[in-house]
């Protein structure tokens, strides 16, 4: 058994066992064990990757542990899997967030079994997406990841959940329709140099797809993925969706699922259609920069914690898109690091918001106040998360943002300069909305008598938070190994430009 397929098999097995679970206790134990096994596999994969990479340099084989099984011969569809440094990092992110999500849902009330099943099906899709190097397989895993979202929000959500779930699913489905057209466009051009039609990314990367086709299919593929990455103006599903979703789902969705967007853009749209990317980059840079500034400014005026975090995500993920479109290694490195960093941070935030909501039954910051006194642990973690979010050195956000800024600054023309400066200016606005929340919600006098005896954080909540804090601080303190691993994996990409 190859170590990559395990990432699909283990979650599937977990789901199968979950079906036999009788109550919450059994369900969560099974999910926890599954999550732990996945985390172990991800860490193991990291070490294996380093070992293997030392033997096989990137120039020889961009992907490691490649396995290829033919699946549907007529259309040359394969189940092809393999990883490079970027996917390894993403797999670690996913496994950590999934495990943290299980911890946070420790006391889920309604239909626990079904909840965990949906959650892990979603995770399966994400794992599969990150390991596949066959476009078709990738697309299928993408859909597997998106569909359970509808159930998770529609059944376990709160507020206008049907509306949000429907909006989210429809927008993402609309995007995947575009995406499918884009992928098929790539497929039918993959024999441009002679040879057979193929879905294999590594094979297509060797083909010179004609410029006209690239120009046509790049925006389709880009938007298809970017809707998931909350590209302005297609981000509106995200605030509503997150606000209605249950805690663990928000965590997984913002922390992992939205990363599929950036990753897909990078791996598919930009890697396979480089000329299209160069041709279209100016247009999407404008949209992405608007997203960065706009998300941050919109977050200033929100009062609902989840909305604040959702708009903050729009801003942070906008940075990922800006960085990807800057088309150089430093910025790309920043984009990947920012994806990881945002994944951990936003999952942390949603977890904290869930805990606060569970205790106080409100997410309106104007109604909260003085939580630092009554919930010291949760509040302290919130402040740390906030500091990470506003790019304080020592946390992951700083490392990522600096790479993005330095990378973006490599372009000398006025257009890119303006875009870069506008992006950098978002760090000031970010500080404003983070400190606003900290000031109103955590500091100050206690506004509600009932808040005086809120239950303290429980062990599973703590574990969930620690799990997310460790990588945030680890990345921020010692970024060298991670950033070098990613930089190394970027070599084949930059060779295309």
């Amino acid at each position: 058994m190859d170590i990559l397929s395990l990432f699909v098999i283990v979650p599937v097995l977990t789901v199968l066992i979950l079906v036999f679970a009788k109550d919450l206790k059994q369900a969560r134990t099974i999910a926890l064990i599954g999550g732990l096994v996945q985390l172990g596999m991800a860490v193991n994969l990291l070490f294996e990757y380093f070992k293997e990479r030392a033997l096989v340099p990137t120039s020889e084989s961009p992907m490691l542990f490649v396995k290829d099984y033919i699946w549907f011969e007529n259309f040359n569809i394969h189940y092809t899997i393999g990883v490079d440094g970027i996917s390894v990092a993403m797999l670690i992110l996913t496994s950590i967030v999934v495990l943290a999500g299980v911890f946070i849902s420790w006391k889920i009330k309604d239909l626990p079994k079904e909840f965990f099943v949906s959650l892990i099906v979603l995770a399966t899709g994400v794992y599969g997406f990150f390991i596949s190097i066959d476009l078709f397989t990738m697309f299928i895993f993408y859909e597997i990841a998106v569909i359970p979202m509808y159930l998770l929000i529609g059944i376990w959500g709160s507020g206008p959940r049907e509306y949000s779930a429907m909006k989210l699913t429809l927008m993402l489905m609309g995007a995947s329709a575009l995406l499918l057209v884009g992928i098929l466009g790539i497929y039918f051009n993959s024999n441009a140099d002679g040879g057979a039609l193929t879905f294999n990314i590594l094979e297509i990367a060797k083909v010179n797809i004609p410029f006209e086709a690239q120009k046509l299919f790049f925006p389709l593929t880009f938007i298809g993925f970017a809707v998931l990455g909350a590209l302005f103006p297609f981000h509106t599903w995200s605030p509503d969706g997150h606000a209605s979703a249950p805690t663990a789902v928000s965590m997984l969705h913002a922390g992992v699922l939205m990363k599929l967007g950036g990753y897909g853009i990078f791996r598919v749209a930009m890697y396979l259609l480089p000329l299209g990317a160069i041709d279209w980059s100016w247009f999407f840079i404008i949209l992405a920069v608007i997203g960065v500034v706009y998300g941050a400014l919109a977050a200033i005026r929100q009062n609902d914690l989840k909305y604040i975090n959702a708009y903050s995500s729009v801003s942070h993920l906008g940075m990922v898109l800006v960085a990807l479109l800057m088309l150089n290694k430093t910025a790309w490195n920043g984009a990947i690091l920012q994806s990881l960093s945002h994944g951990f941070m936003t999952a942390l935030f949603f977890a904290l918001i869930g805990m606060i909501y569970e205790r106080t039954h409100t997410r309106d910051i104007q109604k909260l106040g003085g939580l630092l006194k009554v919930l010291p642990f949760i509040s302290a973690v919130y402040i740390i998360g906030g500091m990470a979010s506003l790019g304080l050195p020592g946390f992951s956000g700083f490392v990522a943002e600096m790479n993005i800024f330095v990378g973006a600054f490599q372009h000398q023309d006025l257009f890119h300069r303006v875009a870069t400066i506008a992006t950098i200016s978002a760090i000031v606005v970010t500080a404003v909305y983070i400190l606003r929340v900290v000031g109103i919600m955590l500091m100050g006098p206690i506004k509600n008598e009932e808040f005086n005896d809120l239950p303290p954080s429980t062990w599973f909540e703590r574990y969930g938070l620690y799990l997310l804090l460790i990588p945030i601080i680890g990345m921020g303190m010692a970024p060298l190994w991670l950033s070098d691993m990613i930089l190394d994996s970027l070599t084949p990409f930059i060779a295309r430009f």
Binding site: P233, T236, A298, G394, F405, L480
Partner: protein, 643 residues
């Protein structure tokens, strides 16, 4: 000589921070105090040992101070550009180590008494350690990015400490303001750093400050000097932007608005961060890059520094005249003195005696740290005794607090520039340097010297002399843990001026001899004594002169009292323009236009489906009719075509 061990100087406070921070709720007050003080004591000993080794043993080779660098790669940007972490030992960093260690140790000792019995005692010491760690890291930074990293960290420690009393709305507002204003300045700093990195290919101080490369247009650092931005070289622009960062942290006009409010923090914090160490980081930053500032395009950036410094020192001194909160008076005084330092750097030359401005600035940084920390700690002692910050609540305290009285007086004399106290020597050098290179700034600073003497003694007489107030509890002298640091700093403030500073610190690292400039000294002492004398007349006994002058100035007084309405201007910009006119419409736009468009698409689909839904009546008969009609039509068509 290997200076690798200096890495321990920041790491020890970091360890203390982690120990105290992770167990903030469990560790008892006594233990926290002892751990904090011992940790810092270790760092202080190492700092002094380093200073001794550097200045007297190994630092000087052939009459030139050497720069020692130990570093390791922290993160790679590109193949050539990376962030390093390490320590850089040269005269100014060692001098700063001494300053930071001394003040921080004194503040730690003092806080044990001052914060005694406070609920968050352990948290307080954890924050102090975090600050010390960041400040040491900033001082020892080997490159621009490292300094930026620690720059942000001191910013956040400052935020945490200002907001230490986190249930007090004014403290929250102040901490937010401090963080956001400096963050805004750091935005400039960051862009400057990235520009430097891009156009010169390095962040490293040693490479950037190499005077030979800076004078050779073909060198890698200077290759892009021809690229211009708005008429100036991009390097000059970058330096100005870096100075914006420095100005934010050092509370230079117009980014000074956070400093007075920062006085909401506990007084030891004001002494440590907002008087002696963090706020001079901007001065240190400019000094760090002094060769660049000096050589790039003939020092245009340096002129900006000089004028901003000069103007800030004047405006702050004027505002300080009218304030009543004793900590705010000291805050404006700090701003004014930092303006002095900036101005001195700005007018300095590079080689030999030309570099007097640089030396004087560093010298003033050194002496100012001592006497300003003393002033703040003294003010803290007073506040501790009378439980108020406001000058009107004080008076005649000299009888109750003899030690505080004497030490405060020494500090006030030092800042007023009365010989033989420390401030006299450093201020004299600054004025002498200004006299040589820029007459306008010299006269401005000369007036500021008089204003300084006046408002300091207004403060001194107001607290310790004047009319005795009715106190709820009889004020009493603070405990030994608080007065001991006062006495130590008083001694230092009295004698620090005798250090032959120019031998140690000079821009070209060679060192030279200075002497007191008698004519300038006479002028500065003259105006200083005049200021003291006026204050003596107006405030030693309660008189009505002050009120008369106040009403005579009327309008101007009101403007000054309200700090020239700069805060209100900022408030107007942020509240009315950014929040109301930009952020609010953005939020509205998102909800209604962007989201509205998406909803419109959805709703249109729903509407269309509603319209055609009528065909699906749900009545089997209708379906059957349609079905049969269809069959009939199909058959007819079929038959028609068959024939």
């Amino acid at each position: 000589m290997d200076f690798t061990y200096t890495i321990l100087i920041p790491l020890i406070p970091l360890a203390v921070f982690l120990i105290l921070g992770l167990n903030a709720l469990k560790i008892k007050e006594n233990v926290a105090g002892i751990v904090g003080v011992l940790g810092l004591l270790a760092s202080t000993i190492l700092s002094f040992y380093t200073a001794f080794q550097y200045f007297f043993k190994v630092g000087k080779v052939d009459g030139v101070y050497q720069t020692f660098v130990e570093k390791t790669t922290w993160m790679n940007f590109t193949d050539t550009l990376a962030i390093d972490m390490g320590v850089l030992i040269d005269p100014i960093s060692v001098m700063m180590l001494v300053v930071v260690s001394t003040i921080s140790l004194m503040v730690h000792l003092y806080s044990r008494g001052y914060m005694h019995g406070d609920q968050g005692f352990t948290r307080f010491f954890a924050y102090l350690s975090l600050f010390s760690f960041s400040m040491y890291g900033l001082v020892l930074a080997t490159n621009l990015f490292q300094i930026y990293i620690f720059w942000e960290l001191v910013g956040v420690s400052s935020f945490l400490l200002i907001g230490y009393y986190y249930t007090k709305p004014s403290a929250i507002a102040a901490s937010k303001k401090a963080f956001i204003v400096t963050r805004f300045a750091d935005f400039g700093f960051l862009v400057g750093v990235i520009m430097i990195g891009f156009y010169t290919g390095t962040f490293d101080f040693v490479t950037l400050n190499d005077p030979i490369a800076l004078q050779d247009t073909a060198s890698p650092i200077m290759q892009n000097i021809g690229v211009t931005f708005m008429g100036f070289s991009v390097i000059t622009t970058a330096l100005v932007l870096i100075f914006v960062g420095g100005a934010g942290k050092s509370a230079m006009f117009p980014l000074h608005i956070w400093l007075p409010d920062a006085m909401e923090g506990p007084t030891p914090v004001s002494a440590l961060i907002h008087a002696a160490t963090m706020v001079v980081a901007g001065v240190y930053l400019v000094a760090r890059l002094f060769p660049m500032f000096h050589f790039i395009e003939g020092g245009i950036a340096l002129e900006v520094v000089a004028y901003v410094g000069g103007f800030s020192s004047l405006i702050a001194a004027v505002i300080a005249l009218t304030q009543y909160d004793i900590k705010r008076i000291l805050a404006f005084s700090t701003m004014s003195q930092i303006g002095y330092m900036m101005m001195a750097l700005g007018i300095s030359g590079y080689g030999g005696v030309e570099g007097l401005g640089f030396t004087a600035s560093m010298f003033h940084l050194f002496t100012h740290a001592m006497f300003k920390a003393l002033l703040f700690l003294g003010a803290g002692s007073v506040i501790h005794a009378v439980h108020s910050n406001v000058l009107q609540d004080m008076g005649g305290l000299r009888k109750y607090m003899p030690i505080t009285n004497i030490t405060f007086l020494i500090a006030a004399l030092a800042i007023a520039g009365v010989p033989p106290f420390a401030g006299f020597f450093s201020k004299d050098e600054i004025l002498a340097a200004a006299y040589e290179s820029n007459q306008l700034l010299f006269w401005v600073e000369w007036i500021v010297a008089g204003l300084t003497a006046f408002y300091m003694f207004r403060l001194y007489f107001g607290i310790f002399w004047g009319k005795e107030r009715v106190y709820k509890h009889a004020p009493h002298e603070s405990p030994l843990s608080m007065t001991l640091p006062l006495m130590f700093l008083a001694v230092v403030s009295a004698i620090a001026g005798l250090v032959p500073f120019s031998q140690f610190v000079s821009p070209d690292l060679v060192g030279y001899t200075t002497h007191i400039h008698m004519d300038i000294a006479a002028m500065s002492v003259g105006i200083g004594v005049l200021g003291i004398a006026i204050a003596w007349i107006m405030y030693k006994k309660e008189t009505t002169i002050a009120d008369k002058i106040t009403s005579a100035f009327g309008f101007f007084y009101k403007w000054t009292y309200n700090k020239f309405y700069i805060d209100e201007l900022y408030l107007f910009i942020t509240r009315q323009i950014i929040f109301k006119r930009i952020a609010q419409p953005f939020a509205w736009f998102d909800k209604n236009v962007v989201d509205g468009t998406m909803n419109l698409i959805g709703n249109t689909t729903v509407d269309i489906s509603k319209k055609i839904k009528g065909a699906q009546s749900g009545k089997v008969q209708d379906y059957a009719f349609a079905f049969i009609s269809g069959v009939v039509i199909v058959i007819m068509v079929f038959i028609y075509f068959m024939n």
